[in-house]
Amino acid sequence: MAERAVQNGETRPEQEAMTVKAVVPADNQRVLVRVSDLTKYFPITGGIFSRVVGHVKAVDGVSFDIKAGETLGLVGESGCGKTTTGRVVLRLLEPTAGSVEFEGRNIFKLNREEMRRLRRDMQIIFQDPYSSLNPRMTVGDIVGEALEIHGVARGRKKEERVRHLLEVVGLSPHHIRRYPHEFSGGQRQRIGIARALALNPKLIVCDEPVSALDVSIQSQILNLLEDLQQEFHLTYLFVAHNLAVVKHISDRVGVMYLGKIVELAPVDELFDDPQHPYTEALLSAIPAPDPTRRRDRIVLEGDVPSPINPPSGCRFHTRCPYAEELCKRVEPRWVEVADDHWCSCHLRDPEYRSQMTGARRS
């Protein structure tokens, strides 16, 4: 067990890569995306000369795999870095450190042209269907642009393909000449999905795709996403803060807190048997539509600490009901607590539990 554990924070990249490789399940599910020790700091500048006075540690050493054909959910509070993670995985933002391997190639090592070609394989669906569509372009131009610039189809062939895509996402092909403002929120989201599908991508990062929609529309869009996944063998990285949505659509779920993934497990296991105290608290906050059921809600004290200056040791120790002395000083290791169930908490670390004494690390 010990050699399969990854020590967060102070791990050297090669050591991490080795340990992560051991995580890959023996079954034939291919890893499509491997994120290793991904870090994204945003500089804060101040003063007259815009000196860098600090960093917002939006994503701080995140590692996970996305297997081909699965949906990996990423949940967490606002500001925990889940959206940033999605953007960096697509290289819409440059990382501060770490790597993202797409089908074995580190995308941050690709040059401009190689990256442009790779964009055919990875797409994004946005949260806000109002700001994600160019108000001055017709639906046909929005959905068909990628086909044109990647030289897939132009002219009549492009139009045919766009009409087909509109039909696939449940819109009428006659909508092709309309402008975004002529559609409702749900329809706009469908246009966004058609655009993401245009180039037959392998990976789609769904950045809170239903959060901005009416509840009655949410399920329609979720079902559409599920159908499309089946039909086109898509892999999703599904970023959301709505636990019910994540539970519904994900195969595996990662829980983020202050720029780190604190727990990663198959969806049923995570919801039935959460290991990390934060996950526990998060799950206890799901409203149950049953007034007779009494629940023990774990109410966390205080606010999320600032990502500019995150707490020492375990980042959750300031709000954790079980925090011990060690949690304040030593960062917990990333440990596989059950089959394919990973968690970073001292309390779940078998080595720590057997010793129950001070810090083992220098």
Partner: protein
């Protein structure tokens, strides 16, 4: 892949996602409806139309030639019977004809120099705003430098060096007055480039140049059109100012500025000599400003529908 497999029932029939029955109002009609609300701007637009057509059709409207002197008919007051609607000047030339022909020069200078300044301003502002960082800093500091020169002084200096001609005036005004547009375009790009639809274009591998010109620029056209419209009277004034100082259009070619200059010596004896070119300058500048203000209101995307 068999076609059938991809067929799926369209869900537009579902209650929440019904397509709008009526097509949304065309963009142009919304624009017209809003523009119409400004009565003064409508007047301004009509005046501009009249000014432009009078300049274009000057040879057909004026009965006299703007260059033909008549020493027996000097400094005569307006006389409709003789066709000298605005009187005659010191050399007996018809001021009406000279003002209309002068309008050709003034308006040409106005439109062309604004075309130049808009091109430079849009390009520099777009590059600065889109790329940011060092490029942005370099371009904007250069903009500050250009802006820090007293405009008229610089105009006079450059014209004195390159020599006065209509082409030179157009180029010099255009090349010296783009900073305002550049700043405006930069600000637009700064706010638009963070929008999701730009991110979406980047995610699809759309090249930068196409993002700038196809995605961001069309969305920032409204303030650019307004700024360009409001820059035209500035250019017209700069031209008349230069001509008044003798550095613009050279006599005997008429221009509003040099008619004013010639007329000031006779201002006590012949009020019409300076009054009519002055009136045309005033009305032109006023009309452009009124139309520009109305455009600003009509094109403002915040006032949706």
């Amino acid at each position: 892949m068999p076609q059938v497999e991809l067929e799926r029932p369209t869900v537009t029939e579902a209650p929440g996602v019904r397509a709008p029955e009526v097509r949304a109002e065309p963009w142009a009609r919304i624009f017209w409806r809003r523009f119409r609300r400004h009565k003064l701007a409508l007047v301004g637009a009509l005046v501009l139309l009249a000014l432009i057509s009078s300049a274009v059709l000057a040879p057909y409207i004026a009965e006299h030639s703007p260059r033909k002197t008549n020493l027996l008919n000097r400094l005569k007051p307006p006389d409709a019977a003789r066709g000298n609607y605005f009187g005659t000047d010191y050399y007996g030339r018809d001021i009406f004809a000279r003002v209309l022909h002068g309008g050709r020069i003034s308006l040409t200078v106005g439109f062309l120099s604004v075309a130049i300044l808009a091109t430079i301003g849009i390009t520099l502002g777009a590059v600065a705003g889109y790329y940011g960082g060092l490029i942005d800093n370099l371009i904007m500091r250069f903009t500050d430098i250009v802006l820090s020169f007293p405009a008229l002084f610089l105009l006079i200096y450059v014209i004195a060096v390159v020599g006065p001609s209509v082409t030179n005036i157009i180029i010099v005004i255009g090349v010296l007055s783009w900073p305002g547009v550049a700043r405006l375009v930069r600000a637009e790009f700064l706010s638009l480039k963070t929008r999701d639809f730009v991110e979406a274009a980047r995610a699809q591998g759309v090249p930068d140049s196409r993002i700038i010109f196809r995605h961001i620029l069309p969305n920032s056209m409204a303030p650019i059109i307004v700024a360009a419209t409001l820059a035209i009277p500035g250019a017209v004034l700069a031209e008349t100012g230069l001509s008044y100082l003798g550095l613009g259009v050279q006599p005997p070619t008429p221009s509003w500025g040099n008619i004013l200059y010639e007329g000031q010596a006779h201002i006590r004896r012949a009020w019409w000599y300076t009054f009519f070119p002055g009136l045309f300058i005033f009305v032109t500048v006023m009309a452009f400003n009124l139309v520009g203000d109305a455009l600003r209101d009509a094109l403002d995307p915040r006032l949706k529908q």
